[in-house]
Symmetry: C2
Subunit: 458 residues, 2 copies
Amino acid sequence: MKFRLAFFFCILLTVKIAAQEDSLMFRKISDEILLHGQCYNNLRVLCKTVGNRISGSPAAAKAVIWGEQAMRAAGADNVWLQPVDVPYWYRGKESLALKFGAKANYKQVVALSLGNSEGTGGKPLEAEVVMVHSFDELKAMPDNAVKGKIVFFNYRFRQDFVFTFEGYGDGVKYRWASPSIAAAKGAIGVIIRSMSTGEDDYPHTGGMHYMDSVSKIKIPEMALGNYTADTLERYCLKGVVKAKMQSECYNKPDKVHSYNVIGEIKGTELPEKIITVGGHLDSWDVGEGAQDDGAGCVQSIEILRAFKALGIKPKCTIRAVLFMNEENGCKGGEAYADSAISKKENHLIAIETDAGGFTPRGIGFVMSDEQKDRLKKYKNLFLPYGIYEFNHDEGGSDIGPMKAKLNVPLAGLVPDSQRYFDIHHTRNDVFENVNHRELKLGSVALAQFIWLVSKYGL
Amino acid sequence: MKFRLAFFFCILLTVKIAAQEDSLMFRKISDEILLHGQCYNNLRVLCKTVGNRISGSPAAAKAVIWGEQAMRAAGADNVWLQPVDVPYWYRGKESLALKFGAKANYKQVVALSLGNSEGTGGKPLEAEVVMVHSFDELKAMPDNAVKGKIVFFNYRFRQDFVFTFEGYGDGVKYRWASPSIAAAKGAIGVIIRSMSTGEDDYPHTGGMHYMDSVSKIKIPEMALGNYTADTLERYCLKGVVKAKMQSECYNKPDKVHSYNVIGEIKGTELPEKIITVGGHLDSWDVGEGAQDDGAGCVQSIEILRAFKALGIKPKCTIRAVLFMNEENGCKGGEAYADSAISKKENHLIAIETDAGGFTPRGIGFVMSDEQKDRLKKYKNLFLPYGIYEFNHDEGGSDIGPMKAKLNVPLAGLVPDSQRYFDIHHTRNDVFENVNHRELKLGSVALAQFIWLVSKYGL
């Protein structure tokens, strides 16, 4: 009995010492990044010397070179480029004019074509505007109601969700699917109210998709900022509104050779076990892709830098990955998973940061309940860093294929979501709208989490 | 036994139904404010039509009128002005020029006199600069080391604290007390590195204080932004730097009649029990006083509006108070407590929101442990709104006298603190740096908390 008691206390003591060591390491990681972090400076360089960087563009190629250099500067043991062929959607010139009332003149408004949308071939496309608020409303209309017309999908981003990604999830179908559904009813163009929480007039671009099974006809789609959408709504309620769309956008026929950028620190005890952390290097072709997802890229690189600066030699291999083509195809994520399969790699977990560089509030998990429960036991370690939320089922688009193809457990950083959909996919997603401390704290949380997983496994 | 069991289940059921009702009311409050809140619009009006509003100034008088109107528009049952005499610190013209190296010319830099500081009487005050990093370093210097010189207190805001108010608490003594301590050693002026987390060059003003017991001589104090402070540091390390201060600031000899603005909803069952919630109406005389503390004012008013809009008839009386003169004297807070004493008012709790209109993360308590434990039992109600932190001992300056004089329990909103000390007391504390959703969520948390306290007491 005495022996058993002594043994029990030995275990307790070991657990307590380990917890103290972990807490100390959490503090070291936090101090290193908050005091000496380079992620904010790296983001400035990416945003101001490369700028926005849609897949396939010359700017995306420049971003790859930037990424490679940043990985080397962070001190990665190995840095390489993983080939991936990507589409190249080209915007070109575009304009939208609205005529509010029969006797009015056309007035130019600020609008953005949605990514993947076909344009008007550079010629004006003019028609009456029909406002609808939902797919159901459109479907219930008489067959000829929108024939030859431009449909205005006036669906408001729901502001009552506290976690704004729920509002995005709720409304994004109108960006994604409206053209095919409207074309099936004979419409010739689509205007949408942006997926935007903004009290402003920034239009938001973002991916759309032509659904062959719904309609073979590909009609153009443009987005309005909230203020212009409000105006259009008012005039649609009053009488006849006409729109003149003009755009050159199209998907270039040839794929472009591009790359994921990968840097790693080789593990000491279990080098074959890989922990991936990444964001996506491509962005939409407006703004600077600062929050989406320059932030995730520099946070991932920062983890390697901090580990090296602190002399941390992780048990497992830590890989930072800058994925290419998240925004319109996810080809980088697919290529990464395919490479893992062909090389028979052993992946412990894949983690993504693609929800903005705002103050981190949690880490989401896509894994078994047992694994989740195991990780949640560390929650008290995270609390002093403002990380309290572990119940989101969050991974990320780029690491999705790792789950789908290899059943790798996923995790995703969950930052504060309040400002994200004000600037997401807009000209306003610029470096100046990223806060240095918020950005760094995201990297702190990820580095702490990776350090834990590398030490204790799942 | 059967009866006892039945009784037990009855209690359980009652508790569960109450919890469901509470959860439902939390949701209603959140929806009302997120969808129909007027606080952001109110803040726009305050910032853009009144602007900054230091105590005693004509702008502060204009702010009182704004506050009274906003309270009435919110639907308060009673609105009144509570008289309070306040000091009026006047900035006037000011400039600071630095000469980096013996042969260089003077170069104008951006600087701000600290609040309450005496100026140079409008005449140039020129002297060599001596850099120190702490009071201890200054005190350890030979007696004549800073005689006739200008001391540069180069103390950096510690960025390693995750909760930035800890960094502020750590460093603010150099803003507050440096002139007296330097004057005691014979210095004729003080320049400080601002209390700033900013990666920028905004100087931060803020309160300072002459300590008669340390020195009777009142020397002027000015603050530099971080970038200029970095430059000054570099040149001080290399050789001789000279400074030329010129400023007109002073405390006007006469007090100015001013007011706290108060609006209330009368309680139904316990109208004599008062719940106070407030922010401060005055600001420093730069920027627009948007986060500090226009945000707290409009959040407090919003609670009344939301209660009225939802038809909530609280048991206790809810009072929103816009305190005057928090920044340099706290005379409004004193007057409110004094009035409560003279009228023998019965105050249940006083709550302040004066830490910025950022995403709320917690509510701090200054009360007995039993009361704290009681309130913490409701934490699961708050979690869906991102409120998880209840361990800060936070009240607020304006409600401090309610605790000191009447032992009223206090609470304070704890928002995310990452961006606050980038803009606090600077020209950059403007409406554009407040996010509409973050601001509203602060009001949501406060309204929910007040609704709970009104229903269940402490």
